[in-house]
Amino acid sequence: MNFSFGLIKEMAAAAETTTEASGGLDIYNKVLCDDFLGTGFRITTSIRNTWIIMAALILFAIIVRIKMKKFKAVPESGFQNFIESIVEAMDNFVGSNMGEKYKYFGNWFFGVFAFILLSNLMGLLGFRSPTADLATTACLGFSTFFLIHFMGIIKGRKEYFKGYLDPFPFWLPMNIISEVATPVSLSFRLFGNILGGSIIMGLFYTLPFYVKVGIPAALHVYFDVFAGFLQTFIFVMLSMSFIADKIPDETKN
């Protein structure tokens, strides 16, 4: 079932007609391969772009790993400072949101943060952001949902199940809806923001060439860089807070 979003669809169609001629941005997610290696999975633009990001990040990680051997106790290179500062920033970020004891979540959120940020910034290079695809954002939202309930159950089973009956037992349906709404709101927030940005950018690139001088740069700064950073931050921050909410306070430090 493909949703036709009335206006969006029309605008997208308008953009599509001129995309090829103008070399503009691609608003649509395309199916590149229907059956990937006979597994039944399809390869879409989002998945291909995700692979590009993965390749870039893994390559970067390998370079870091190789260069780490030359890292000194007193950092001298800017590269070492950069690596140390991003890792330390993430470590402190997780520590302040989830407590010292759950800093190991940094391993997961570091990757998620890097992935969302790079996908959001990908629009700058003319790629379609993987986060402009609900499958990607829903997978991230689902992983948060899984972590929320997994941590809730293993860390405080009693409080976890009691939480569904708060403040009154008949509030149970509302609580269940609110739990289900969490990953939905997380994924749709990210998806909507990035898709919105990319549609506006795509439409802008269908305009005559004389308005495409300089102005797209400002739009990219807003939609890709600003919104990209902000949405990444919001997604990771909210995920951490939601997970930390389900962990009893006394186990946090």
Binding site: M1, N2, F3, F5, I8, K9, A12, E16, I27, Y28, N29, K30, V31, L32, G40, F41, R42, T44, S46, I47, T50, W51, I53, M54, L57, I58, F60, A61, I62, V64, R65, M68, F71, A73, I83, E84, V87, E88, M90, D91, G106, N107, W108, F110, G111, V112, A114, F115, P130, D133, L134, A135, T136, A138, C139, L140, F142, S143, L195
Partner: protein, 172 residues
Amino acid sequence: MDEFILSLDANMLKDLAFQLLNTCILCAVLSYLLYKPVKNMLAIRKDKIEGQISFAESQLNEANKMKAMYEEKLKAIDKEKEMILGEARNRASLREQEIIAEAKAEAETLKNRAMVDIQREQEKAKDEIKKQIIEVSSIMAGKFIAETIDQKKQEKLVDEVISDLGDVKWLS
């Protein structure tokens, strides 16, 4: 080629599963290659720096203790120095007095010896004078005897002798 913006169907669930796999792989690799090693490195360095700081602090404390100890020792040494100097000064003044006393004693003995010498010389001179008086007397007696002299002449002779005696009187 199919194109879509948002499709809620089975394919989307498959995409979701695929993306979940991708994300997990990415996170695992990043965690293994980047996040954990760098975090470990930072933790090791933190421990090392903390160790060095506490070591430096303990060393500083020790050094302060040593300094206090040495200062105390220096004070004691100063006291000892004062004591030794005072003692030496006392001893020196004692010695000085001793030396002076010795010198005085020696001077006294020298003086005494000189006095004895003088005494002896005087005795010697007296003896000489006695001898001379005897000689003169005997000469006079000889002269008295040799000449029969009148009263005047006798007086004159006596005066002569007496004046002769007066010439050697200072020796007595």
